[in-house]
């Protein structure tokens, strides 16, 4: 265990009280703003959730603290601050199942671990089904979740009605037959996750360097030696590419061509309302899901716009589709006014599952392919990439997230739609 730096300010209820009495003059910035040093043991490209958690676990679990996280904008300016914050462990395939299970366990002690309120709320998640065949598929998934040691309850129609009385159960196209209930599923405050990891990594000596865009990756005789950035060259023994939607561009700096296509996923939020939706509700057949933020806004989204894009905003056809699906499922939503919509650039892999692996360049690692599900993965992804970088061996819950699995046929096609870029 690495000793914490001396001047660390711990957060607590007592502290809030004390600062209140002292006119809140004692609060200090949550992390330093250091200039880049000429060299580090490890450079992490990308200050999103995955980059920050990787830095934190390198320091905490492996004692590697001579680490820099290089972020081209500000910390949390990417998808970590744009997602709809759903945290769950309801995966089916071996490879995914143990990974997301591990991640949820890390979530459950994250606030104590980071000494940061990430507002993790295990309000329960319900995946609706609309036919006998779908019920069988969800029963199978629920059993897989139980076998993994997680929780799942198969609800019939009345069971769903008890929890979600506001749904339209008799809609003609997709009448509701029941739902798979995952009580430990829920949400968390997305920005707070980035800030919490940032602060905790900084406290352990990691340099978080904002406004520092990586523009080149230096390689000498097949081995990475450092990076070129908008703030000068930085040498490094090991480098990790953790840039989500920008993975292809940064990997190209090292001459790599990835199995990734970048797509836009949109999300929406309404004006703040009194509490009315207590759970996360997922309507897969209609491509719609929703929860209510602690501020009261209904946060919802649907599917990708479904063509390669870096626009960080979506187009109207998907807006219309999502609104229609919402109205079909819960007509009451028509009374709420939409405040904002936005989009994020998603790193889509052909089979819909992620990659945490070495690259063909020695010392260069890659973490990408999170598709639309990388928020819940933030703790385990960082932990597993840190493990791989520190020990040289993949962590056992991430051993199947290999870069070469498309070539070898060891796919992780959770949705069973096929391994092709336009299908996930």
């Amino acid at each position: 265990m690495v000793p914490e730096r001396g001047d660390v300010m711990r957060y607590s209820g007592f502290r809030v009280l004390l600062e209140g009495l002292r006119g809140n003059r004692g609060w200090r910035p949550a992390w330093r703003k250091p200039d880049p040093k000429p060299a580090y043991d490890v450079v992490i490209i990308g200050g999103g959730g995955h980059g920050l958690s990787t830095a934190y676990y390198l320091a905490k679990n492996h004692g590697i603290t001579n680490v820099a996280v290089l972020e081209k904008g500000w910390l949390g300016s990417g998808n970590i601050g744009r997602n709809t914050t759903i945290v769950r462990a309801n995966y089916f395939l071996p490879g995914n199942s143990e990974f997301y299970s591990h991640s949820l366990k890390l979530w459950e002690k994250l606030e104590r671990d980071l000494n940061y309120n990430v507002m993790h709320s295990q309000r329960g998640l319900i995946n609706l089904f609309h036919s006998d065949g779908q019920r069988d598929a969800f029963a199978r998934r629920g059993n897989a979740m139980l076998a993994q040691g997680d929780d799942a309850v198969l609800l019939d129609r009345e069971g769903v009605r008890e929890l979600l009385p506001y749904l339209d159960f008799d809609q003609t196209r997709f009448p509701i037959y029941g739902g798979l209930y995952h009580p430990r599923g829920g949400t968390a405050r997305h920005d707070a996750v980035a800030w919490g990891y940032a602060r905790a990594a900084d406290q352990r000596g990691v340099d978080l360097i904002e406004n520092c865009e990586v523009t080149g990756i230096d390689i000498d005789q097949g081995r990475v030696t450092g990076v070129q950035t908008s703030r000068g060259a930085i040498r490094a023994k090991k480098v990790a590419i953790v840039v989500a939607g920008r993975s292809s561009q940064v990997a190209a700096m090292a001459g790599l061509r990835l199995p990734i296509e970048s797509h836009i996923l949109q999300a929406f939020v309404t004006e703040g309302l009194k509490p009315c939706i207590d759970h996360v509700v997922s309507f897969g057949m209609g491509h719609f899901y929703i929860s209510q933020s602690d501020k009261g806004g209904l946060v919802f989204g649907g599917d990708l716009d479904f063509y390669a894009s870096y626009a960080a905003r979506g187009n109207l056809p998907m807006v219309e589709h999502v609104m229609e699906a919402g109205m079909t499922l819960m007509p009451m939503i028509g009374r709420a006014k939409v405040l904002r919509s936005w989009g994020g650039i998603m790193d889509m892999s052909p089979d819909g599952s992620p990659i945490i692996d070495r690259s063909p360049v020695d010392g260069l690692f890659i973490n990408c392919g999170w598709n639309y599900g990388g928020f819940k993965a933030v703790p385990a992804s960082g932990r597993c990439l840190a493990h791989l970088m520190a020990t040289g061996a993949p962590h056992k819950v991430a051993a199947r997230f290999r870069l070469d699995r498309f070539a070898t046929g060891h796919l992780l096609d959770e949705e069973g739609t096929g391994s092709q870029h336009n299908l996930h």
């Binding site: 920008r246 292809s248 561009q249 190209a252 061509r257 990835l258 199995p259 990734i260 296509e261 970048s262 479904f306 063509y307 390669a308 894009s309 870096y310 626009a311 187009n315 056809p317 052909p350 498309f406 070539a407 391994s419 092709q420 870029h421 336009n422």
Partner: protein, 86 residues
């Protein structure tokens, strides 16, 4: 976003199904190395900027090669795929 179908003219994006990069037009020989097939099926340039990809016009069944910008969503050219190799 509107795409020009070589048969039907300028049409709403919703009438088209996106297939993917025009890498799909460069199918390797049947006996090509596994790497060539991996590149063909999975690995992508994935450019931020000008790209060429394949769209299917559902009403008339025409495959269209679209040259467009992935950052601005501007469409520069739409050509029929028919007649190209692949």
């Amino acid at each position: 976003m509107r795409i020009t179908c070589p048969c039907c003219g300028s049409r709403d994006r919703r009438e088209f199904t996106y297939y993917g990069s025009d890498d799909y037009l460069r199918r390797p020989d049947a006996d090509a190395a596994a790497q060539a097939w991996d590149d063909y099926l999975h690995n992508r340039d994935n450019p931020a900027g000008e790209t060429r990809d394949l769209w299917y016009h559902d009403p008339c069944g025409t495959w269209v090669k679209v040259t467009r910008d992935t950052v601005t969503h501007a469409i520069h050219a739409c050509e029929p795929v028919a007649g190209e190799a692949g």
